[in-house]
């Protein structure tokens, strides 16, 4: 005879209501885990998008994401000629705001060379950039559709392709545009400013500047060897893909990651306290019944089982409801929520431990109940 199950069945509505409250708490914890993961995944998305092995940037910088980096546009040719390099491409990165659809959007503009490394390849819809001007491939998160036209700088661009889940570490959707257009946007002075510069006799900065050059190596080629070669050139620095990813997670998103991690820890602690309180209160309400059980000869294991099983049922149902809830609403979040099976299982493990620990208070109270309490009014 399972007393825990019978008690739950008898007070089913109350149990489910408690589970609902707990599941909302679990949903918040799972959301935070998902947001935490999303932050890291988002940060790495742009780095992984070119599918490059080596990043070449300005000397003594850790660009182009952790620090600003500017290198000559013809660097790509030099890199492409290196031993072991199969393919190379120039890239620019900048954040911009554009107004379309009645509101202002923050976008992450990625200048790419059409047909070269760095251009988006895995399209969700449409086609790659085919002309060297005024075509863009946008992340679906920007809310653009194929054929839409948006103003960027002094030009208007047409959406010819769509990609998914391409955002920067701040969650801004990526817009891929031809390198020349991106360079104009980033480096070309507005005509009045250019006229002033010319009038002052100052040199106009060359426009053929990029933020980074990416390279894909031939099978069997050593990324470290290519990096070492590039570093010897003094005016350039190079990082492997792994170093670039480490830089992003260790510096660019580290503070946000730690902030969310700490908040997640606090949430878990709060959940533990709430579960402990619920179990303790449930036990305290049953003290007379527990005293009666003791008086009629029930062993401690029966009483401990009653409390621990209910605690685990509460935690298990709360966890399951919470998981279902997050899976249903995760796409509503403005930023990506990435929940891996291992995260859900880890939380299940934590909830299990918390429930067992939380039952401890209730079990302690139950075992201290004097069976004589059952006697008398």
């Amino acid at each position: 005879m399972n007393l825990a199950f019978r008690d739950v069945r008898h007070n089913l509505f109350r149990f489910l209501l408690t589970c609902l409250g707990l599941s909302l708490l679990m949903a918040v914890v799972l959301s935070m885990i998902g947001i935490y993961n999303g932050l890291v995944v988002d940060a790495l998305t742009i780095v992984r998008a070119p599918d490059a092995d080596v990043w070449v940037v300005e000397a003594r910088t850790q660009g182009p994401f952790a620090e600003a980096s500017r290198i000559p546009g013809d660097t790509r040719d030099a890199i492409a000629r290196l031993h072991g390099v199969e393919e190379a491409g120039s890239l620019t990165y900048q954040t911009a705001e554009a107004t379309f659809g009645g509101r202002t959007h923050r976008l992450y503009l990625v200048g790419v060379e059409p047909g070269r490394l760095g251009a988006p390849s895995d399209l969700a819809a449409g086609r790659p950039i085919g002309r060297s001007h005024h075509e863009i491939v946008a992340d679906v998160g920007a809310g653009l559709a194929l054929g839409d036209r948006i103003p960027l700088g002094r030009d208007t661009f047409e959406v010819v392709g769509l990609v998914r889940d391409q955002v920067n570490s701040g969650g801004d959707p990526a817009i891929y545009l031809p390198l020349r257009d991106a360079q104009r946007l980033q480096f070309e002075l507005a005509p009045p400013a250019a006229r002033v510069q010319i009038a002052r006799g100052a040199a106009i900065e060359g426009k053929n500047t990029v933020n980074a050059v990416v390279a894909r190596l031939a099978p069997g080629a050593s990324a470290e060897a290519v990096v070492e070669t590039v570093r010897r050139w003094k005016h350039l620095a190079a990082l492997t893909e792994a170093e670039q990813e480490h830089l992003l997670t260790a510096s660019v998103v580290d503070r946000a990651r730690r902030q969310i991690g700490l908040f997640m820890g606090i949430l878990l602690a709060v959940s533990a306290v709430v579960i402990a309180l619920i179990i303790y209160t449930m036990t305290m309400e049953k003290l007379r019944q527990i005293a009666t059980l003791k008086l009629i000869g029930a062993p401690d294991r029966t009483i401990v089982g009653l409390i621990v099983q209910q605690s685990l049922a509460l935690g298990g149902v709360g966890w399951a409801f919470g998981l279902i809830l997050v899976m249903l609403i995760k796409d509503v979040f403005p930023r990506r929520v990435v929940l891996e099976p291992v995260n859900a299982l880890a939380l299940a493990g934590i909830v299990f431990v918390v429930c067992i620990a939380a039952s401890g208070l209730g079990v302690r109270a139950a075992l201290r109940v004097d069976p004589a309490t059952a006697l008398g009014g």
């Binding site: 005879m1 007393l3 008898h10 007379r288 009629i296 000869g297 029930a298 069976p371 059952a374």
Partner: protein
């Protein structure tokens, strides 16, 4: 007529609470014996020690000194002679409470079957025996009812069935009729008397209910922790 077994035999039982000026001697060298088939009452003013005595006989409270023999087994002689008092209670003693104390989440049958289940009977046997007991106590028609749906009298009968489930020969009752009107109290007392006779058990009840004094074979009067007198055969 063959002499009946002595089921409860205590001698020199003492129990105190507190120390120094706060010391209260709840029981002072109390001795009594109750035979099978007897229904006896413990009477006395508040604080006289009757509930303490019931708790001691029920193996819930440790006496300071004395000797106690339950159903032929010496269970206390200056110290407990059995390690597992809960098992002792399960084997030898049935309890009937002032407020039936049925578990609200079990139906009438399962409340009774629980004791048998704890004693090691399988589920089917426990439920069959529970239904038999409920029928015997004339509440078989309410076997599937939850305690909240039972009347006071019905709930007390189910509680009595639970006390009898493991066939204990010692039944301790704490104000068994306090929550019942005089008519139902009379019915419950008649039932307890019948049980004592038919089950060859003894019943020791703490009561303040004067209406039922005449239903007891003997009445033990306690005052200030001492057994002052006894009435009856």
């Amino acid at each position: 007529m063959a002499p009946r077994d002595t089921l409860v035999e205590i001698s020199g039982i003492s129990k105190h609470f507190g120390e120094g000026e706060a010391r209260v001697d709840a029981l002072r060298e109390v001795g009594l014996s109750v035979a099978a088939g007897e229904v006896v009452a413990l009477l006395g003013p508040s604080g006289s020690g009757k509930t303490t005595l019931l708790n001691v006989i029920g193996c819930i409270l440790d006496p300071d000194a004395g000797r106690m023999v339950l159903d032929g087994e010496t269970v206390f002689d200056g110290r407990w002679l059995r390690g597992n008092l809960r098992r002792l209670r399960l084997d030898k003693i049935g309890f009937i409470f002032q407020f039936h104390n049925l578990l609200p989440f079990l139906d009438a049958t399962d409340n009774v079957a629980l004791v048998l289940h704890l004693a090691g009977h399988d589920g089917a046997t426990a439920r069959r025996r529970a239904v038999e007991l409920l029928d015997y106590l004339e509440v078989g028609n309410r076997k599937d009812a939850m305690p909240a749906k039972l009347s006071g009298g019905e709930a007390q009968r189910v509680a009595i069935a639970r006390a009898l489930a493991n066939s204990p020969r010692i039944i301790l009752a704490d104000e068994p009729t306090a929550a019942l009107d005089s008519h139902r109290a009379g019915i419950v007392m008649d039932l307890l008397r019948r049980l004592a006779a038919e089950q060859d058990a003894c019943i020791i009840a703490v009561t303040h209910d004067e209406k039922i004094y005449d239903r007891f074979d003997r009445i033990f009067h306690l005052r200030d922790g001492r057994l002052e007198s006894q009435e009856g055969a």
